[in-house]
């Protein structure tokens, strides 16, 4: 699951290497942020969760039994923290539909910024579509990597990305 470089960095951190820690943070910051943003509806919250997750994961690295499963492990930490944040904010409902909440989200103002419009578009996607789009278009992941991480086929990943991009383009041209 984890590439050789990540494995190497994880082992170096356990051995107490400080530079390796910084390198791994840099390497996984955007990934954690992407996963968090696929669950939360604010980029600031997503960044908070990404930082908390990295802190929690890397300070408890000794609890990771199989270093090769670093990616799924840290993704699960991010997801758990994001869901906890949602619950804490009282926004989480079992079958949440973002379409019913459009009045309260950014991008509905008269002069939305590009960031707001992107956020607005992302919130119209399903969680899976958002995650695939963010991992692929923001963090530069390949379809086989996304498929492996999300436990879906490569074709499925392509399909999710295709639908997500189509929806996003439509929303962005309307905005």
């Amino acid at each position: 699951m984890a590439d050789n470089k990540t494995l190497e960095l994880v082992i170096m951190i356990i051995e107490g290497d400080e530079d390796a820690c910084q390198l791994l943070v840099r390497r996984y910051y955007r990934f954690c942020y992407s996963v968090a943003l696929s669950i939360l509806k604010s980029s600031e919250d997503a960044e908070d969760v990404a930082q908390q997750s990295l802190f929690s994961a890397l300070s408890n690295l000794n609890k990771l039994l199989d270093f090769a499963r670093f990616r799924p492990w840290i993704r699960q930490i991010v997801k758990n923290k994001a869901l906890t944040m949602l619950k804490r904010q009282g926004r989480h409902t079992q079958k949440r539909s973002h379409y019913h909440e459009m009045e309260n989200i950014p991008g509905k103002e008269d002069n939305p910024t590009l960031k707001d419009s992107l956020m607005y578009g992302l919130l119209k996607l399903s969680e899976r579509e958002r995650e695939v789009l963010l991992l692929h278009d923001m963090d530069g992941w390949k379809h086989h990597q996304i498929g492996e991480l999300l436990e879906i086929s490569e074709t499925n990943s392509r399909q999710f990305l295709f639908v997500a991009r189509k929806k996003m383009r439509r929303i962005l041209t309307q905005a």
């Binding site: 910084q22 840099r26 910051y29 943003l37 930082q51 802190f55 408890n60 992302l122 278009d137 383009r169």
Partner: protein
């Protein structure tokens, strides 16, 4: 190389502002490293304290067994006269040594 179909999500990317990102990474790394140091120390102490407590208990048990009255056996009165405490170390019976100790205490 960026695909032409790619949606430009850079306004949402937290790593675009390089200076800010550097500050965040440095701060986060510092916190992680200090947390890791603390957890290492606590693990060491967590193992050390129970180990010391066990060692102390074993020592106390050994001492209490050593000084415990062993009961009468054989012609102890006679042995008390001739034996010294050091002889116990050489392999004499504990009951004999106990008598010796008692005698010393009475004399005082």
């Amino acid at each position: 190389m960026m695909s032409k179909n790619r949606i430009d999500l850079s306004p949402l990317d937290p790593t675009i502002d390089k200076n800010r990102f550097d500050v965040v990474v440095k701060k986060l790394t510092r916190n992680i490293l200090s947390a890791r140091r603390i957890s290492t120390v606590s693990v060491l102490f967590g193992a050390f304290i129970p180990l010391m407590a066990t060692a102390l208990m074993v020592l106390m048990t050994a001492m209490s067994l050593f000084f415990m009255y062993a009961g009468k056996s054989g012609n102890s009165q006679q042995k008390v006269k001739t034996l010294t405490f050091a002889k116990w170390v050489q392999g004499e019976k504990r009951s004999t040594v106990w008598k010796e100790v008692q005698m010393i205490k009475v004399r005082k």
